[in-house]
């Protein structure tokens, strides 16, 4: 299988590690319980790609390091548009200067996550800057140009174990999710562009989470979403398949849950997801060698 990576430019984008923020109020959960729990941004020492997305006393918990660009709207949008999952990010300030990490996901149009080994995470400070070599926008697989690819680095594409079978791309995935479970982020952002952020697998109906056995989903899992087209905005379309990477943790807020950054979208009949427990980017890119896969 060939792709057009040699035609894709590599461009630098930068962000800084952002501080967690709080509204100062409780967040009312699906169960009516008001909670004050950690959420986004900052540096997470015990929550990285490869860890379970469910079960934390946290809301929209973001793995590893959260980067934001504090410049103009255009600049922070460019960070999220051009950084692709699997891209390299180099620390350019502080005690960990020079260490290279990996982009693992995006969240809400303005946040990009980068993973580093624990010893590096310990050296990082809020405000440290990380420069990413953005490479992947415009990626296409030869002969499958109608499969829209987004937010995906050529390196990860080639490591995902994708095979061709009867004019279909067979994609190993850790879970197959019903389209009706998708929540916040449906329809996309202000431009409706699915390349920028993520949309959530709703984790606030416990019965359905159990019915569909979703609570094992890990950060970094490659997942397929049924009946979902994400070419230009995320929306329902019978038979369409969206492939995405799980980027942030579960939520107590109605309609929210683990986030999925779409990486592929196809009309019916083009993509065939196949279950594979190791379909996780930490496994594909060897980000968590200490784990048993």
């Amino acid at each position: 299988m060939k792709n057009n990576k040699n035609k894709l430019v590599q461009v630098s984008v930068m962000g800084e590690i952002s501080h967690p923020s709080s509204s100062g109020g409780f967040r009312t959960g699906f169960d009516g319980i008001p909670r004050l729990v950690p959420g986004g941004s900052g540096i997470k020492l015990n929550f990285r790609v490869g860890d379970c997305a469910y079960g934390w006393i946290a809301d929209h918990f973001e793995p590893g390091v959260c980067l934001q660009n504090k410049g103009s709207v255009q600049q922070f949008t460019a960070l999220n548009a051009l950084a692709c999952i699997g891209n390299e990010g180099r620390i350019v300030t502080g005690d960990a200067k020079g260490v290279i990490g990996t982009v693992t996901g995006k969240h809400g149009y303005s946040k990009t996550f980068v993973d580093f080994p624990l010893e590096t995470l310990k050296k990082l400070t809020i405000g440290d800057r990380i420069q990413i070599t953005g490479w992947g926008v415009g990626l296409e697989i030869d002969g499958y140009e109608n499969v829209r690819i987004m937010s995906l680095s050529p390196k990860l594409l080639e490591a995902m174990g994708i095979k061709e079978e009867n004019r279909q791309l067979v994609i190993p995935v850790a879970a197959i999710v019903e389209g009706r479970m998708m929540g916040s982020g449906m329809g996309g952002g202000s431009g409706g562009i699915p390349d920028l952020g993520d949309f959530d697998i709703q984790s606030t109906c416990t019965e359905l989470t159990n019915t569909y056995d979703l609570s094992k989903i890990r950060i970094g899992d490659v997942v397929a979403i049924k009946d979902m087209l994400s070419h230009y905005a995320r929306g329902i379309y019978p038979g369409a398949i969206t492939i995405g990477i799980v980027t942030h943790g579960a939520s107590f807020s109605p309609g929210h849950g683990p986030g999925v950054s779409p990486i592929m979208s196809a009309y019916p009949g083009k993509l065939k997801p196949t279950k594979d427990d190791n379909a996780n980017i930490a496994y594909h890119l060897n980000l968590r060698p200490e784990k048993d896969w």
Binding site: T28, G29, F30, G32, G179, R180, M181, M182, G183, S184, G185, M186, G187, G188, S190, G191, G192, D200, Q202, T204, C205, E207, L208, D227, L229, S230, H231, Y232, A233, R234, G235, I236, Y237, P238, S253, P254, G255, H256
Partner: protein, 299 residues
């Protein structure tokens, strides 16, 4: 109907004020992109829409997220929420300024302009009054209904509903259930933008109209502005989300959309579990019929 008792005596009546807002484009300086990759200029978000009113079809217009009437909001985000939350469907609106000063209208919907992150009301006026209105005219709403609940059926959450509209909806309490006439029951799997947004007492939740096949299968093409519809397997109790035991009932507040994940918006008026809230089919369950807003239409 007479048997429905509510907490009406404990509800405050107060004035909120907004203004008629200018139409806006989905994408600043350019085209929005439809679900299938076509560029589209979005007509009908905001402003005064003259030739489409509550009771008219939702589909068939060269528009996107059309507000079928007058869009009322406030430029200040905090006041805007106040106007949107506290105004209830069926509340009376009065024009405070301009040539139509004194004219009366009625709140017939709530919408959320996703790209501009702003909440609006849809207010219906008689055509002759509408002709006199100007963008920027101040509109006052006598807000009444926030906190409404049905005594003995507190498990049904009531929101955005004027207490004087409730008995006109033809609702009944029978066998411990609230039965509500609706024109259509939509499966929750169709629900799109608006899921997870937070309190359902603001704005609208879109029924996705980006799959022509599903639009046909569920006959969304027959929807009208002001239709009362039910959606199964979802809840709006504390926010819009999937919920196997839940059902919601709301009012079609804005038009269809060709953008992925978007479509006609529902302003929720009831949310509850299926064992206490039940829709009953009634082809006349439309605000224009219920409030006698359209003599020109045959029902």
């Amino acid at each position: 109907m007479a048997d429905i008792k509510t907490n009406i005596d404990s509800l405050v009546r107060m004035k909120v004020k907004g203004e008629i807002i200018h139409p806006e484009l989905w994408i600043e300086r350019g085209f929005a992109t439809t679900w299938d990759g076509r560029p589209k200029l979005t007509v009908g978000i905001g402003g005064i829409v003259y030739n489409v009113r509550v009771g008219d079809p939702v589909f068939g217009w060269h528009a996107d997220h059309l507000n079928a009437g007058v869009a009322v909001s406030d430029p200040d985000p905090s006041k805007q929420r106040g106007v949107n939350v506290f105004s209830c469907i069926g509340n009376e609106a009065t024009v405070l300024t301009g040539s139509a000063k004194g004219a009366k209208g009625v709140v017939v919907g709530k919408t959320y302009f996703f790209a501009g992150r702003s909440y609006r009301l849809v207010v219906d006026f008689k055509s002759e009054d509408k002709m006199k209105l100007t963008i920027g005219d101040k509109i006052e709403i006598e807000s009444w209904g926030t906190g409404l609940s049905i005594i003995g059926l507190e498990g049904v959450r009531v929101m955005s509903l004027s207490p004087d509209l409730l008995p006109k909806l033809g609702v009944e309490v029978m066998d411990g259930k609230l039965k509500v006439p609706v024109v259509k029951i939509v499966p929750g799997s169709l629900m799109g933008t608006g899921v997870g947004r937070g309190g359902a007492h603001m704005g609208a939740w879109d029924i996705q109209s980006c799959s022509p096949e599903l639009n046909k299968e569920h006959d969304l093409y027959s929807l009208r502005f002001g239709d009362i519809v039910a959606v199964t397997d979802v809840t709006c109790d504390l926010g819009n989300s999937v919920y196997e035991q839940g059902i919601i009932i709301g009012v079609i507040s804005h038009g269809e959309s060709e953008l992925g994940g978007h479509g006609p918006g529902i302003a929720t008026i009831f949310s509850g579990s299926k064992d206490i809230l039940e829709p009953i089919y009634d082809p006349k369950a439309n605000l224009a019929y219920i409030l006698k807003l359209r003599d020109d239409l045959e029902w």
